[in-house]
């Protein structure tokens, strides 16, 4: 048992022989893989950093596109509080929040316009 038995010796011989006997195509691919690995490591650091930027840029572009697609379109534009007050002060006839106004009120705008005109002309008399 102390001497290497047949199994160990034969196993290692077969393994070494099989490694020597690798077909030329596979051996060529292994050589190419080795050269590629050595070349990749030899590439300057800034090139490797640039390679990392490509997926990061792609991720950022996807995130922006997702934001544009899924952002709510009918939300009211953001305005400074002062600007809102100015609009309300100068044009008090319009509902303050168009987005939340009952749609039925928006159907007969001509009628409301005529009513307002008549009302103002009677007042001036």
């Amino acid at each position: 048992m102390n001497a290497p038995d047949n199994l160990e010796r034969r196993a290692r011989e077969l393994y070494r022989e099989a490694s020597r006997r690798i077909d030329p195509a596979t051996a060529g691919r292994l050589r190419a893989a080795r050269r590629e690995a050595l070349a990749a490591a030899a590439a300057p650091a800034h090139l490797r950093f640039a390679r990392m930027l490509v997926p990061a840029g792609a991720f950022a572009a996807i995130a922006v596109a997702a934001l544009m697609v899924f952002s709510p379109r009918d939300s009211a534009p953001v305005q400074a509080p002062g600007a809102t007050q100015t609009v309300e002060a100068t044009d008090g006839d319009l509902p303050p929040d168009l987005g939340n106004t009952d749609p039925s009120l928006m159907q007969n705008l001509d009628f409301y316009d005529w009513l307002a005109t008549n009302d103002s002309s009677q007042a001036s008399r």
Partner: protein, 210 residues
């Protein structure tokens, strides 16, 4: 995820490792190879054996090629500044982890194929686990030695993973106990025990080799 260390308490551990050491000494005397001074030379020396070892574990040439390619890339990228004496256990350790990754990925793929209904045929009988197609040369192309190698590879493939690793690194690749332990990420005692059990199983499977 490594298996826990096991105690080296089997009676034939010492004899087994002594036998492997003798074989190692003989091979070293025959090879008398100096440690390569460049990574290129080192990888050129081990690439074919690494391919055979990965192929033996994975049973698939393309996966084996991927594993070796990735191991070479990681060694060069992360450890090129290490002393040349450390490359051997580092390389085999990286390759071992790549092989384990590929085996796990294949297992997941097999489960997914099963979920999608690929695991059963039209009669509802279970199909064999999904395996990628291997376009390597068939058994008829192989010579008698190749057939013996295939028998050994098949027997090694049947071993539990840790026994496989101990046998391949220690007996086939000829790493010493400390290097094997480093590559396997376990204690030297565990290496001896896994190897002893591997040899016991292989002797049972390859009886006609005695």
């Amino acid at each position: 995820m490594e298996s826990p260390d096991v105690r080296s308490d089997e009676p034939d551990d010492r004899a087994m490792n002594s036998a492997v050491s003798t074989l190692e000494a003989e091979l070293l005397a025959n090879d008398a190879q100096a440690v390569p001074t460049s990574l290129d030379a080192f990888l050129a020396q081990v690439e074919r054996r690494a391919f055979r070892l990965a192929e033996m574990s994975l049973g698939h040439r393309e996966d084996a090629m991927d594993a070796v390619q990735d191991a070479m890339l990681r060694l060069v990228r992360n450890y090129r500044d290490k002393p040349a004496q450390e490359w051997t256990p580092l390389f085999w350790g990286i390759l071992r982890r790549r092989i384990v990754d590929l085996q796990r990925r294949r297992k997941v793929r097999s489960i997914v194929v099963g979920w999608l209904g690929g695991g059963r045929d039209d009669d509802g009988d279970e199909l064999p686990a999904w395996e990628p197609a291997d376009n390597g040369p068939g058994p008829l192309d192989r010579l008698q030695d190749s057939q013996s190698y295939e028998d050994m590879a098949a027997a090694v493939r049947k071993l539990p993973r840790r026994q496989q690793e101990a046998f391949m690194l220690r007996v086939l690749e000829g790493l010493d106990v400390a290097e094997t332990a480093q590559a396997m990420g376990c204690s030297e005692g565990s290496v001896k025990t896994h190897l002893s059990r591997a040899m016991h199983n292989l002797r049972d499977q390859l009886e006609d080799w005695r």
